[in-house]
C-alpha cells in the first residue's frame, strides 16, 4: 500500500502534539488530518474515512477510551492507537479490550512509532487482501464451469442453491462427463464450509487396499513402503467437504468402513490405534444404478440410505442441447485464453454438427472437441473439418429418418473396409451397383 493512500487522523488537545505528529507523518507521505477533541472527529466520521487514528487518552469533553468505543461502532476497521502521557497499565489494558490496536506513551520513541505504524498498515493491508480474496473466491469459483440456460440446468442450479447452505449429505447422479464434480464444488463453495477444503476422491481409481490407505491415511510402518505417517483424504477434508466420486464401485469391506466413519465421525489410520475425530460434509457421485446394485447385494442398503439423502440428477448433454452453443463458446473463450489465441467464431455449419451430435461423452466430450478445434482451426472461425467427428455429421441415434440412418451406416462400413466397394457391398449384403448408386445419392466421399 502506498503511503499516499493512507489516511491518518490525530486527535489530541495539545496543538504542539498535533503539529509535531502531523509534520512527522507528512514527511513519510501520509495524508494527515487532526482534531482538537472527540466531537470534532465524530461529527463527520464514516466507515473507511480514516485508516489509522492516533487518539490521546486524556482529553476534555470526551476521553480517548470513550472516543475509541464510538469510532469502533461507526468504523470497526479503523485502526486506533491510543497515546498516553504516562504508562498506565489499567487504562492501556482497557483500551486494548475495547479494540485499540496498540498504545504508545508520550514522548514516543521515533523507532517505536515508525514500527507501530508499519505494523498497523500491514494488518490493514492483510485484512483488506483477505476480504478481497474471499470476495474473489465467492465470485469466481462459486459456479465456475457450470454453464447452462436450459430448464434442466436451471433446476440443477436451483437445487444447488437450496441444498448448499444446509449441511445435508448430497448424492449427484448423472452420466460420465456431465460435470458432477463441478456441481460438488459449487455446493461446497456456497456452503458455510467454503473456506475449508473440498477433497475429491475417485473411488473407482483405487484397489481396495489403496483406497483404504487413501481415505484413512496410514501410520509409519503400517505396510511395506509406509515410511512416513500420512494423512488420509477424510482427515484432510476436516472442516470441509469430502467428495467421493464413483461411490458405486467401492468394495463391500470399504463400504462397512465408510459407513462407520459417516455414523461416528471418527476413524483410525491404517496400522494405528489413535482415534481421529473429523467433521466433514459428504457429497458423493455415481453414474451407476445404485438401486440395482442394492438389489443385487453389491451395495449395502444402509450405506445407500446414508449417502442418498438429497439427490441431484444431472441431465446428459443430449437432453439439453439448447446449452450446446453457450457451452461451446465458453470453451472457445477458455482455450483461446489458455493457448493465447484470438477467440475463433464457430461457423454455422460447425455449430449445426455440434447440435446434431449425440454427445455420449457429454460436456467433457464437447470440451475436448472444442480444444481440438482450437488447435487445428484457423482464424476467423472453426469449420466442420476442424471438429473430430465431421464424418458423422448426423448421428443415427439422433435421427428418426431412415435415409439418414442408412447414409451414416454406409459411410461407417465404407470407412471400415477402407472404401473397398466389393467388400463393403458384401458386408452390407447388397450388390456393388446398388452401393455405387447409394454413394452417389448421399454424396459420400473418401476422405
Amino acid at each position: 500500500m502506498n503511503n499516499q493512500n493512507i489516511k491518518i487522523f490525530i486527535v489530541d488537545d495539545e496543538q504542539i502534539v498535533r503539529d509535531s505528529l502531523t509534520h512527522w507523518f507528512e514527511e513519510d507521505g501520509y495524508q494527515v488530518e487532526s482534531a482538537v477533541d472527540a466531537f470534532d472527529v465524530l461529527k463527520d466520521l464514516r466507515p473507511g474515512k480514516y485508516d489509522i487514528m492516533l487518539v490521546d487518552i486524556k482529553m476534555p469533553k470526551m476521553s480517548g477510551l470513550e472516543l475509541l468505543e464510538k469510532v469502533k461502532e461507526i468504523d470497526p476497521d479503523c485502526i486506533v492507537i491510543i497515546i498516553t502521557a504516562y504508562a498506565s497499565v489499567p487504562s492501556a489494558v482497557q483500551a486494548l479490550k475495547n479494540g485499540a490496536f496498540d498504545y504508545v506513551t508520550k514522548p514516543i520513541d521515533p523507532d517505536e512509532l515508525s514500527h507501530l505504524i508499519q505494523k498497523a498498515i500491514k494488518q490493514k493491508t492483510l485484512k483488506e487482501e483477505n476480504i478481497a480474496l474471499k470476495k474473489h473466491i465467492d465470485e469466481v469459483y462459486s459456479f465456475e464451469g457450470l454453464i447452462g440456460e436450459s430448464t434442466e440446468m436451471k433446476k440443477v442450479f436451483e437445487l444447488i442453491k437450496i441444498v448448499a447452505p444446509q449441511d445435508t449429505t448430497v448424492m449427484i447422479r448423472g452420466e460420465s462427463g456431465t460435470g458432477k464434480e463441478l456441481i460438488a464444488r459449487a455446493i461446497h463453495m456456497h456452503s458455510p464450509r467454503k473456506y475449508y477444503p473440498i477433497i475429491p476422491v475417485n473411488c473407482g481409481a483405487f484397489t481396495e487396499t489403496l483406497l483404504e490407505s487413501e481415505l484413512f491415511g496410514h501410520e509409519k510402518g503400517a505396510f511395506t513402503g509406509a515410511q512416513y505417517r500420512r494423512k488420509g483424504k477424510i482427515e484432510m477434508a476436516n472442516g470441509g467437504t469430502l467428495f467421493l466420486d464413483e461411490i458405486g464401485s467401492i468394495s463391500p469391506k470399504m463400504q462397512v468402513e465408510l459407513l462407520r466413519v459417516l455414523e461416528s465421525k471418527q476413524f483410525t489410520r491404517v496400522g494405528g490405534n489413535e482415534i481421529v475425530k473429523v467433521d466433514f460434509r459428504l457429497i458423493s457421485a455415481t453414474n451407476e444404478n445404485l438401486e440395482k446394485l442394492v438389489q443385487e447385494g453389491t451395495f449395502r442398503e444402509d450405506l445407500y440410505y446414508r449417502v442418498n439423502v438429497f439427490t441431484i440428477y444431472v441431465p446428459p448433454l443430449r437432453e439439453r442441447k439448447g446449452d450446446i452453443p453457450i457451452l461451446a463458446n465458453h470453451f472457445v473463450e477458455k482455450f483461446s485464453r489458455a493457448m493465447n489465441k484470438v477467440p475463433l467464431k464457430i461457423s454455422d455449419e460447425a455449430m449445426e454438427i455440434l447440435l446434431r451430435h449425440s454427445w455420449p461423452g457429454n460436456v467433457r466430450e464437447l470440451e475436448n472437441a472444442i480444444e481440438r478445434a482450437m488447435v487445428v482451426g484457423k482464424p476467423p472461425e472453426i469449420r466442420p473439418e476442424d471438429l473430430p467427428f465431421q464424418l458423422e455429421r448426423v448421428s443415427h441415434e439422433d435421427s428418426d429418418s431412415l435415409e439418414e440412418i442408412e447414409k451414416v451406416h454406409i459411410q461407417k462400413v465404407l470407412k471400415k473396409y477402407d472404401w473397398n466397394i466389393s467388400r463393403a457391398a458384401t458386408a452390407l449384403n447388397i450388390d456393388r451397383v446398388t452401393l455405387y448408386n447409394k454413394i452417389k445419392k448421399y454424396g459420400l466421399q473418401k476422405t
Binding site: 509535531s20 514527511e27 514522548p107 521515533p110
Partner: protein, 175 residues
Amino acid sequence: MHQAGIILLNFNAMSFYDSIANSLSKNFNLNCHSIIPNYDINEFYSFERNQYYSTKIIEHSLLQYSKFHKILTLTDFDLFVPVLTFVFGEAQLNGKAAVVSTHRLHPEFYGLPANEKLFHSRLIKEIHHELGHTYGLRHCKNFECVMHFSSNVDEIDIKSENFCKSCLSFLNNKI
C-alpha cells in the same frame, strides 16, 4: 548559485565544515555562509527533558536569517519535538529552514569508541536528508536513498549519502 546560511549553534565539529560546504555546493548548488548566532538558547531549552526544541530553533532561524535561500542550523544540542523522545533533525517540508543535531550521531553516545569517519558520514547523510525535505522530498522507500527514514543510527548507516534516481530527478527540478 543560491545562498545558504549555515548557523553554527554550539557546533563543535568545525573540522568538517569545509566538506559540508563542498557537499552542499555539489548536491544542492548552494553557496554556504557560516554564521555564529546570538540566540538566547533558553528559549529552546526544556528543563524537564534536558533537550532543545527543534521546531523553535527553526522558527528562530527563519526570523533572523530569512534573506538566505536556505537556512541550515547545525548543533551539538540534543533535539526533541514534544511528542517524540528525540529527533536527529527537523526541516520545513518544501520550506526554507532545517536543523541537524550531531548529539546522537557520535558513536560515543552509544558507548562505542570514537570514529570520525563514521560520524562524518552520518552527519552528511542527515544534512542531505533534512535539506532534501526543504526541497519538498518526502521519505523514500528505497533503503539506500538518503531520503529513506531512519529512526536510529543503524538505519542511518545502512543508507548512502546519495539520492536515489527518482529523488535526484525531483531534486534537480527544484534546484
